[in-house]
């Protein structure tokens, strides 16, 4: 088991923790945080392949991670704004009760 495989196992477990959180919790904020954690696990993979992969050149993996972080930050802002909008309509952010799109 070389270093690349160790890094990939690490990111797989991190991804699974995020997946379990997104599936198990009913609070919308925790579900969003689980999704953020899954995105982080994907970024770990980019850096691991950039550093330990067989054919890495230049700074490609690093730049990919930078763009992914920017998109994840935009997603977090939108998601939490949606959570606040849902809270304003139904005073509650449980996902089981957010069954209507119409306010």
């Amino acid at each position: 088991m070389n270093t690349l495989q160790l890094c990939l196992v690490f990111s797989s477990v991190l991804f699974a923790i995020g997946l379990m959180a997104a599936l198990a919790r009913s609070n919308a904020i925790l579900v969003l945080l689980g999704i953020e954690l899954m995105l982080n696990a994907a970024n770990l993979n980019f850096v691991a392949f950039w550093r330990f992969g067989p054919a890495s050149d230049g700074a490609t993996g690093v730049i990919f991670v930078l763009f992914a972080i920017a998109v994840a930050a935009a997603e977090a802002a939108i998601g939490l704004a949606l959570v606040i909008a849902i809270y304003r309509h139904q005073k509650n952010i449980r996902l089981q009760e957010a069954t209507r799109l119409k306010g």
Binding site: Q5, L8, A16, V47, A59, A70, I84
Partner: protein
């Protein structure tokens, strides 16, 4: 080298697991900051310093603050008190799915041969990243700028309250009345508010 990776991985995974098993949302958010710090430590360990500092700034600084504000703005009580049989079975199903995903991914990783590691580690100096971003990746940088702008404007519009502006609320309620339906929210907005409603 591998020992450091093991320490970073144990720290990150333990804080993530603790974060999602707490019932207190504020504890979850604070433990997730530790998780993000652990991921930044992994980037430092792998030699991607610029990404590590971007991770600390964006996740440790910005996203964690947004999350804490969202938690504080939307809480009724800090703890999430509802534990029903349905939620227990959902947790069990989620654990099963997560374990299956880990098993599949780890088996795939261990059964793949990735070829030899590079002889000398690739470097990503800030200067090199800057030239890449401004040269070959300039189009992507512009697209990311547009995405961030649109996302921030959209987030502001979604989260901005229209309760403070009675004229806008009245207009929307009148248009609903015109269509022959008056929801409770519209009725509350049209009628003069007393007591509890005025406080909210």
């Amino acid at each position: 080298m591998t020992l450091v990776l093991a320490i970073i991985a144990a720290f990150t995974l333990a804080s993530a697991a603790c974060a999602f098993s707490r019932r207190n949302l504020i504890h979850s958010a604070l433990l997730l900051i530790l998780t993000w710090a652990g991921v930044a430590g992994f980037y430092l360990w792998a030699g991607a310093e610029f990404v590590a500092f971007a991770q600390v700034l964006i996740y440790g600084g910005a996203v964690s603050m947004i999350v804490l504000f969202a938690v504080l703005l939307t809480r009724r009580s800090i703890v999430d008190p509802i534990v029903t049989p349905a939620s227990r079975s959902r947790v069990a199903a989620a654990m099963g799915v997560g374990t299956a995903v880990v098993a599949v991914l780890v088996a795939a990783v261990l059964n793949t041969s990735f070829g030899p590691e590079p002889v000398h580690a690739p470097t990503a100096e800030v200067r090199q990243i800057g030239f890449q971003l401004m040269g070959p990746q300039a189009g992507s940088l512009l697209v990311i700028g547009v995405i961030l702008t649109i996302a921030l404007i959209g987030a502001t519009i979604l989260a901005a309250s229209d309760r403070e502006n009675p004229r806008a609320v009245g207009a929307s309620a009148r248009s609903r009345m015109g269509k022959g339906e008056l929801s409770t929210a519209g009725r509350r907005a049209v009628l003069p508010v007393h007591g509890k409603d005025a406080a909210s």
